[in-house]
C-alpha cells in the first residue's frame, strides 16, 4: 500500500520536474533557439555563435577543385583516392618543347588531356590533397577561399553536372605539341 502511494507521489513529482524543464525552454526560446533559417542565414555565422569563423579552419571538406595550369600530371592524387573517382590521362611532350611552368616554377613535362573528378563518388576524405607536390588540387572554400570561393549549395539538377572535367587541352593542341597521338593513360 505504501509502495502504491509512493509510486503515485514519485510519478507526480518527477513529471512535474519534467514539465518544468520544458516550460523553462518555452520561456527562454529567444536565448536558446538553435535553428538556423537556411535561405536567409547561412552556416558560417560567427556572430550567432553557430559555427566558426572561416579563418579558424584547418581544412574544409567541400568540392574538389584543380588548378589545372599547375598540374604536372604526377597521378599522386589519383593513386591516393580510395574510391577511384579521379581519372587522369596525359600525353608525353617532346623534350624540347616548353608547355609552361607551374606557379611553383616546376617545369611541366606532361600535357594533361583529361582530369575528371566524379564528385558523386567522392567520399570527401581529403586524402588526394596531401600528396600533391604543386598544391593544385584542393577543396574549395575555408582556408582555400583565396584560391577558390566556396560553393555553398553545391547542388545541381543533373547528376552528370557533378562530374567535373578540369582539363582545358584541346585535341589539336595535343597533336601539334606531340606530333603523334601516342597517349599514355594514367590513373589506376
Amino acid at each position: 500500500m505504501k509502495r502504491y502511494f509512493y509510486n503515485i507521489w514519485e510519478t507526480i513529482t518527477t513529471l512535474m520536474i519534467g514539465l518544468g524543464v520544458t516550460f523553462g525552454h518555452l520561456l527562454r526560446i529567444r536565448k536558446g533557439n538553435v535553428t538556423l533559417q537556411y535561405p536567409e542565414e547561412r552556416w558560417p555565422q560567427p556572430q550567432r555563435e553557430i559555427g566558426f569563423n572561416l579563418d579558424r579552419y584547418n581544412v574544409i571538406r567541400s568540392r574538389l577543385h584543380v588548378d589545372i595550369d599547375d598540374c604536372i600530371g604526377c597521378l599522386q592524387c589519383s593513386r591516393a583516392c580510395p574510391v577511384d573517382c579521379i581519372k587522369i590521362e596525359f600525353v608525353k611532350v617532346d623534350k624540347g618543347l616548353d608547355i609552361g611552368t607551374t606557379s611553383n616554377d616546376t617545369k611541366k613535362r606532361l600535357l594533361v588531356t583529361r582530369f575528371d573528378i566524379d564528385m558523386t563518388e567522392c567520399c570527401f576524405c581529403n586524402l588526394c590533397t596531401y600528396p600533391c607536390p604543386e598544391d593544385c588540387i584542393y577543396m574549395t572554400g575555408g582556408p582555400n577561399s583565396r584560391k577558390h570561393p566556396i560553393d555553398y549549395e553545391y547542388s545541381t539538377y543533373d547528376r552528370s553536372d557533378l562530374i567535373f572535367r578540369f582539363s582545358n587541352v584541346d585535341p589539336d593542341q595535343v597533336a601539334r605539341l606531340t606530333g603523334q597521338n601516342e597517349l599514355k593513360v594514367g590513373g589506376k
Partner: protein, 361 residues
C-alpha cells in the same frame, strides 16, 4: 441561441415559405456548418500553436516564413493553411488489399463522433445548440462513438500495424471512459443535474472568499476529480503519454498508417476536435464554463464566449505541454493506470463528494 431559436428565426424570416420542416433542415445545416467551421478553424489554429509550442520547448522556432511568395506568411502563420491545401490536393491512396467501403467510411465515423458532441457544449450564456437536460451524458456517449471509427480504420487498412493500433485504442478508450465518467459523477452529484447550463450556473459566485466558485476550487474531491478527468481525457484523445494507438516509434502510425490526403486530414481534424470536446467538458464541469474568473467582472454574452474559449485554449495548451514532455506508456501500464490508479481514486472521490454534500446539507 439554441437550435429551437434558430428554427424560429428561419421560420420568421423571408424563408418562412419553407414551412417548419424546411426551416428545421435549414437550421440544422446552418448549425452544422457553424460547428464545422469552428472545428476546422480550431484545428488550423491549434496545429499551428502546437507546432510553435513544441518548437519553443525544443529550442527550435518552428514554422517560419519571412515574406510573401512561397513562404508561409510571416512567422509561418499560414503554415497550416498551406498544409491543409496540400492535403486537399494530395493523391488519395486506398491500398489494394483494403476493405474499400469501410476504409472510406472510417474517418467520417470518427469525425462524426467528435462533431456531434459539439451540439451540447454551452459556449456562452445563451449560445448552446441543444440545451438538453442530459447534455453531459450525451457528450460522454457520443464521444466514445469515435472508437468505432478507429477500429474500422485499423481493420479496413488490412495492415498489421493498423490492426494493433485499432485494438489498442479500443481497449484504451473503453478503459478510460470509466474513470472519466465517474469523476464527472462526483460533480453531477453536487449539482443534481446533467444539464450543461445548470452545471455552469451552479458555479457562480465565490468560494473561500476570493476564488471563483468553480468546482475545481469548491471542494477537495472535485479538485481531484478534475485531474482524474483531465488525465483520462488525454488518454481518450490518444495523445502522449497515452498515444499508444498511434505510437510512432512502435506502430509506425497506428490506425492511420495507410491513410493519406484528405482522409488522413479527417483523422487529424477529429483528434483536435476531440481535444476541444474533452477540454470543453472539463471547462464546463470544473472550470465554471463561460463564467468570468473574477465573479461579476466582464460578464455578458460575448465575454462568456471569450471566457469559455479562453479556458478551453488554456487546457489545450496544457495538453500540448504534456505531450511534448513525456515518453509514452506501455499498453499494459496504460491499463494499470486506468484500472488500478484512476478508477479507485475516482470511486474514492465519488464517495468523498457524496459525504461532503451530505455534510454541507
Amino acid at each position: 441561441m439554441t437550435i429551437t431559436w434558430l428554427i424560429e428565426w428561419v421560420n420568421d424570416s423571408w424563408l418562412g415559405f419553407l414551412g417548419l420542416p424546411g426551416a428545421f433542415i435549414l437550421a440544422v445545416i446552418i448549425a452544422g456548418l457553424a460547428i464545422f467551421g469552428l472545428v476546422a478553424v480550431h484545428a488550423i489554429v491549434a496545429v499551428y500553436v502546437e507546432r510553435k509550442v513544441a518548437a519553443f520547448m525544443q529550442d527550435r522556432i518552428g514554422p517560419m516564413g519571412q515574406g510573401p511568395g512561397l513562404h508561409a506568411g510571416k512567422w509561418g502563420l499560414l503554415q497550416t493553411v498551406a498544409d491543409a491545401l496540400k492535403l486537399l490536393v494530395k493523391e488519395d491512396i486506398i491500398p489494394a488489399a483494403a476493405d474499400r467501403k469501410l476504409f472510406v467510411l472510417a474517418p467520417f465515423i470518427l469525425f462524426l463522433g467528435a462533431f456531434i458532441a459539439f451540439v451540447a457544449l454551452p459556449f456562452s450564456e445563451s449560445l448552446v445548440l441543444a440545451d438538453f437536460n442530459v447534455g453531459l451524458f450525451y457528450i460522454l456517449a457520443v464521444s466514445s462513438f469515435g472508437v468505432i471509427g478507429l477500429i474500422l480504420a485499423g481493420w479496413a487498412s488490412n495492415n498489421k500495424w493498423s490492426l494493433y493500433g485499432a485494438m489498442r485504442s479500443a481497449a484504451q478508450i473503453i478503459s478510460y471512459e470509466i474513470p472519466a465518467a465517474i469523476s464527472l459523477i462526483a460533480v453531477i452529484l453536487l449539482v443534481g443535474s446533467l444539464n450543461m447550463q445548470a452545471i455552469t450556473s451552479a458555479q457562480s459566485g465565490t468560494v473561500w472568499g476570493i476564488l471563483p466558485n468553480w468546482f475545481v476550487f469548491q471542494n477537495p474531491f472535485t479538485f481531484m476529480a478534475f485531474f482524474i478527468y483531465f488525465i483520462a481525457g488525454i488518454a481518450e484523445t490518444n495523445r502522449t503519454p497515452f498515444d499508444i494507438p498511434e505510437a510512432e516509434s512502435e506502430l509506425v502510425a497506428g490506425f492511420h498508417t495507410e491513410y493519406s490526403g484528405m482522409r488522413w486530414a479527417f483523422f487529424f481534424l477529429s483528434e483536435y476536435a476531440n481535444m476541444f470536446i474533452v477540454c470543453g467538458v472539463a471547462v464546463v464541469v470544473f472550470l465554471g464554463g463561460w463564467q468570468s474568473p473574477i465573479p461579476g467582472l466582464m460578464t455578458g454574452r460575448i465575454w462568456g464566449l471569450f471566457w469559455f474559449m479562453g479556458k478551453v485554449v488554456f487546457l489545450v495548451l496544457i495538453m500540448m505541454w504534456i505531450r511534448w514532455t513525456f515518453p509514452r506508456l506501455r499498453v499494459d501500464q496504460l491499463m494499470n493506470v486506468s484500472w488500478k490508479v484512476l478508477l479507485p481514486l475516482a470511486f474514492f472521490n465519488l464517495f468523498g463528494a457524496g459525504i461532503w454534500s451530505l455534510w454541507l446539507d
